[in-house]
Subunit: 308 residues, 3 copies
């Protein structure tokens, strides 16, 4: 039923995505109450060629919770320096006896080619600025958990749309669920060609905020700033950072999400963050996103690897 | 009964410390003979922001021996470079589903604040020059194992008292057990204000040695020397290093301890070390300290996390 | 029956080597079908002081497959910077409760001395340019799996014999099994004194190829080239790299082996590799070598540690 790999969310039907979310709900309910053996006897290669804390640990925990073993390979400390090519490395890792590969790399466009070369499931943990499928799945899962009906839900994506794999995955899957997506971003970070037909594009955060049920703050990649692609952080924060004035413009039930890690004082001002956490902590979904990441990844591994 | 966290030994009563040591004795007896499930289903975050071999491995083994899972986070290879703040990182690690945090950092004064922000037990694995509680517990445990009665036992702390978290933890807990502590250190490494009331302070190792039942050699931090806080290593070794002449001055049953790793030729001369290991290996407790570290950490995890 | 340590293959009789291979055959058959408890309750220290991917992961998986726990210590990120001596480190790791040590280091001549200092089995995972025993065992195992009778089998070792621990281990064990070994290497990489009595030494790959049943390509260490010990990679590839012309000269059943990772375009040309993989993939044994490494290491750990 399922595609072999999880690289591009457009390979999955709405029904398939729903069955992943349903499985995640099962794991949210049952994790900690019982021991799972879905991946017993399975080695899963986890290979991150780009820094990450939460996504890597989340996948590794998901594997362990399901009874599987992690074969970790993080090339900053290994044999890449020997000139081993990436394809050879991945094949070698699988030759050691892996049932699946969880892979992160900063180069977009690489994963489909690699996945074709290996017989086991190839699961993206973030591919350059292409897609980040499990992030989108956990975000959808979190929106529902917050009580939202996805049909007609208004999600405002804020910030560096251009370089964001999260934004690309969201654009791909959210409309399937009936979610309306709009954008607020500086023009260089949201080129006209990227805006999906019919989507609203705000050049000003203040104006956009009253529209949103969910304000989804994207991470500003400080690395990008050095390349001159992002305005100064101060300028960005002034125009597209969420501050106290912005908070006063949102609807009463609006929730706030961020894929993490946050740059405090950039995507959201220190004051706004403190105000939200004190006054309406249930509307700040950051930690829930992290927590749900575990359940969604357990669901993905179960359905793509466990039943394989 | 117990405090939520293990950060400062002064939060613990003598009775509580004794119950940790009693539990450690149980684990010394039973480890290797049976399988423990005290931490089954528990993920424990182990986060070291400072280099360490033995303490980190000791905690990780203790977790695994009790049936728990290690969620390792060592920021030198992770997302700290992304500017994630430490508090946010710790909360994120816990959101992933940790039952406790084992933390080491070079900054003193940080742990109480962090521990207040998290609901799970926060266990210090060494906090700057503040305290190192499990080191003190394992040292007390080792002294008893060597046959000493703690009441009236004379422990001589030698070396860099000023920067030593081990010395601070020892000063805090040893007197509770009736141990008498004295010091031998160069004046810049033992300022007057640090000496506890009533404690003897020797400015000369030779003179101090005949007094001691236990000679506790502190590690000279070579890094500190570059800052000009420690005299030259040669000068230090000549005045406060234990050498053959020093050995001839100790009592017949005196034992030797060191938190490791030793700088051979600095805290103890090569000749003195060889002589001790050949003639009286039972009086050199270094390896026993390492081994007991495992049991004491198992006891701490059991009592603070397992029964929680 | 067995030596305590696996450092030098010449410490093992043919019968002992055969019993390791027999045990490996058992694990090739049974791994994935059942759960092993041979190392249950055992901690095995895995300490690599030199970069490695496949050997390290292979040993770690082998330990886990047998039910044991890995105590990993990779000094690039640990306390070696504190000046801890290697011997003290190894003893400390064992004091933490290890049943065996798996060790890799770039310095030859170190392992026998270290092994004498510890009571538990000391297993080499590659020792400088001295020996790499498990590589040789897995290669013999792979030759047999490819259908070869070892008695009278003609194995041609190609390349940097001088610096190769693999070549040294092969020279030590292959003749025991009745294998004939010959060499093809540039003179500076195969000094006269290294050639075993009676072995043929070709100064030209083309001439040597028709002789071989197995062509064993050694890895060219690019690091060595900077020291001027290896000719330019282009020159090397032209004279000792396997290319299409070379392929046309081998016998019809000749198989190809490489300890990995390959430098494509150096030890074998891109065209020759592609041709082999398309036309006669069953004669390219690289992946089988990786896979068999797991079974052979399980066998070694079982026989040296599990039954101890």
């Amino acid at each position: 039923m399922f595609a072999k790999d999880l690289i591009d969310l457009s390979s999955f039907s709405l029904g398939e995505l729903e069955s992943i979310l349903e499985r995640a709900a099962f794991y949210r309910e049952e994790t900690g109450r019982r021991t799972f053996r879905v991946l017993e006897g399975h080695n899963i290669t986890v290979s991150f060629w780009e820094h990450s804390t939460r996504t890597r640990l989340s996948f590794e925990l998901a594997i362990k919770e399901l009874g599987g073993r992690v074969v970790g390979y993080y090339p900053e400390t290994a044999s890449e320096q020997k000139g081993e090519t990436m394809e050879d490395t991945v094949k070698t890792l699988i030759s050691l006896g892996s049932s699946a590969v969880v892979f992160r790399h900063s180069l977009p466009g690489l994963f489909h080619r690699l996945a074709q070369k290996v017989e086991v499931p190839f699961i993206s943990a973030g591919e350059g600025c292409y897609q980040h499928p499990t992030q989108t799945l956990l975000d959808i899962f979190t929106m529902r958990q917050a009580g939202f009906d996805l049909q007609g839900l208004k999600v405002l994506m804020v910030g560096d749309i251009l370089h964001s794999r999260v934004a690309r995955s969201h654009m791909c899957a959210l409309p399937l669920f009936g979610v309306e997506v709009a954008f607020a971003a500086p023009p260089p970070l949201l080129p006209d060609g990227m805006v999906p037909p019919g989507a609203t594009c705000y050049r000003n955060l203040e104006e956009a905020l009253p529209w949103a049920d969910v304000v989804y703050l994207l991470r500003v990649q400080k690395e990008r700033q050095e390349q001159g692609l992002v305005p100064s952080l101060g300028e960005y924060a002034a125009l597209f950072g969420l501050n106290l004035a912005g908070l006063s413009r949102v609807k009463s039930g609006t929730c706030f999400m961020h894929p993490g890690p946050i740059n405090p004082g950039v995507e959201i001002s220190h004051e706004a963050l403190r105000a939200l956490e004190n006054v309406a902590p249930e509307r700040v979904l950051f930690r829930k996103q992290v927590k749900n990441g575990l359940y969604v990844r357990m669901a993905v591994l179960d359905l793509l690897v466990g039943s394989g």
